[in-house]
């Protein structure tokens, strides 16, 4: 009989998993600082980490404000795009003709370049509106959520469907006990992909007009005025923002998995 996986000191594994990437990161920073400070790579080619850190502390307020603007745009876009994605996928999974109708539209949306769409939407909604940026984040989030959800909703096996039929399970019962739990991991994978895309899209959209403010806008103005270290500080904040949102979706994934496996009893 098979047994639970042979576990070898999970405590040590976890410590290693945390310590190893941190060590690599610190080492990278040290090498970077060494390259700029000792070897002498010129500062406008690559500012040193200490310069960037100084800019960060000097501009903590504006950075936080910019991150907030971009973050709100990304999160709103992610929420709306995902909601629409899940809803449309649910309909498409039910009705084949809707699926066939949507497929080319979704394929089209998937290849729309943000760079092309941003100026158009920004002028559409007006220069002082954030709606254009949020729309772009929503469109970017919609595609992976829709595709993954649709796939997930189709993963129930004929065997499981036969079984539910043999239990004379009602439609809602089948949905709750079979279809949704089967689809959940796919939906969450879609969300995880979408979370990064939402931040990137919201950020990139800021390069192309719209109201002043947001990390993307500051990166471009800082770079344009040769304030490279400050631009890098904003880049750092963008990374943190993207990571933050990504981690939220990972946590959500864990939570749902735990609810699924634990809540069944």
């Amino acid at each position: 009989m098979s047994v639970v996986d042979g576990v070898r000191s999970p405590r040590r594994d976890r410590t290693l998993r945390l310590v190893a990437p941190v060590a690599v990161g610190l080492l990278g920073l040290a090498v970077w600082q060494l390259l700029v400070g000792v070897v002498g790579v010129s500062a406008h080619l690559l500012p040193s980490p200490s310069e960037i850190a100084a800019e960060w502390t000097a501009n903590a307020g504006p950075i936080a404000e910019a991150a907030w603007i971009t973050g709100v745009n990304a999160v709103l876009g992610l929420l709306v795009g995902s909601a629409v994605g899940v809803a449309l996928a649910a309909v498409a999974a039910r009705l084949r003709w809707i699926d066939q109708m949507l497929a080319p539209v979704v394929a089209g949306l998937a290849v729309v370049p943000i760079v092309a769409l941003a100026p158009v939407l920004n002028s559409m909604f007006g220069a002082d509106s954030e709606i254009g940026r949020r729309t772009i984040a929503a469109i970017a989030s919609f595609v992976p959520v829709f595709l993954n959800t649709l796939r997930g909703l189709r993963q129930t096996t004929p065997l499981h469907r036969d079984l539910m039929r043999s239990y004379a399970a009602t439609g809602p019962q089948t949905l709750r006990t079979l279809t949704l739990p089967t689809a959940a991991p796919y939906v969450l994978t879609g969300l995880r992909v979408a979370s990064s895309l939402a931040v990137i899209s919201a950020l990139v959209a800021e390069y192309f007009g719209g109201p002043r403010g947001g990390l993307g806008a500051f990166i471009s103005t800082s770079a344009a005025t040769s304030a490279y270290a400050r631009a890098w500080a904003y880049v750092g904040a963008s990374i943190l923002l993207g990571l933050g949102l990504y981690l939220v979706t990972v946590a959500l994934e864990r939570l749902v998995t735990r609810l699924l496996t634990g809540g069944a009893r």
């Binding site: 047994v3 036969d162 079984l163 039929r165 496996t261 069944a264």
Partner: protein
Amino acid sequence: MSETINGDGVAVAANGVGKTFDTRSGEVQALTGVDLRVAAGEFVSLIGPSGCGKSTLMRLLADLDSPSEGTIEVFGKTPAQARRDQDYGIAFQQAGLLPWRTVAANIGLPLELHGTDRAARAARVAELAELVGLSDFADRYPDQLSGGMQQRVAIARSLAEQPRLLLMDEPFGALDEMTRERMQAELSRIVGESGAAVVFVTHSIPEAVFLSDRVVVMSPRPGRITGVVDIGIGRDVPRDEALRETTAFFAKVTEVREALHGTPVTASGREGR
């Protein structure tokens, strides 16, 4: 053996049942002219080569498909009504457990769907886990179990609501020979305790003889019943390793084999013209 039993004691009655499937290459006759009666508490195996319609017949009984012709009654009702009334339990070749549920939650699934309250459900699940020898594994997940154990969970699940009829489609087909023989002995004991009628689809002759009161022999193209062998090994005879060595057992194995091969089957015959 069962034909004389009155309506109340009949688990399954099929009259002139046929089933045709529409496929891309035209109509395929999966079953034709099937008459079958299974008495309450009787163990009947359907045996035959691939394509003889034995699984199709079981699906018709379970109302997972509907017949193209003829009538089927399960405990005097239509299969659809019997399904809604949960008169049968079912097990397939694959265990078909829900991977995100524990063993206990899988066994309790039909009870949960039909509104059995939590306490009664827990008690019944514990009883069933004990019955199939998985009490120590109630909190495990399916992917932590061997194939044989998963199949035992599926069998426990099919027994959850104490059905009067069990429909089993090659439930041991994917198991190795040793596990399979052990499972056969266990199933025989479990069914004996529950008193349910069983329709058991298999393509193993010894398995059919070991378990059944009657073996229904089927033949393909088109799928039909070509013979019935009364096994005549009483229920009081323990289904154990000793039984497999008796001459009576061998004689019945031979009889079923002859019934299987004695039918005029043209090897060149192709379906789906």
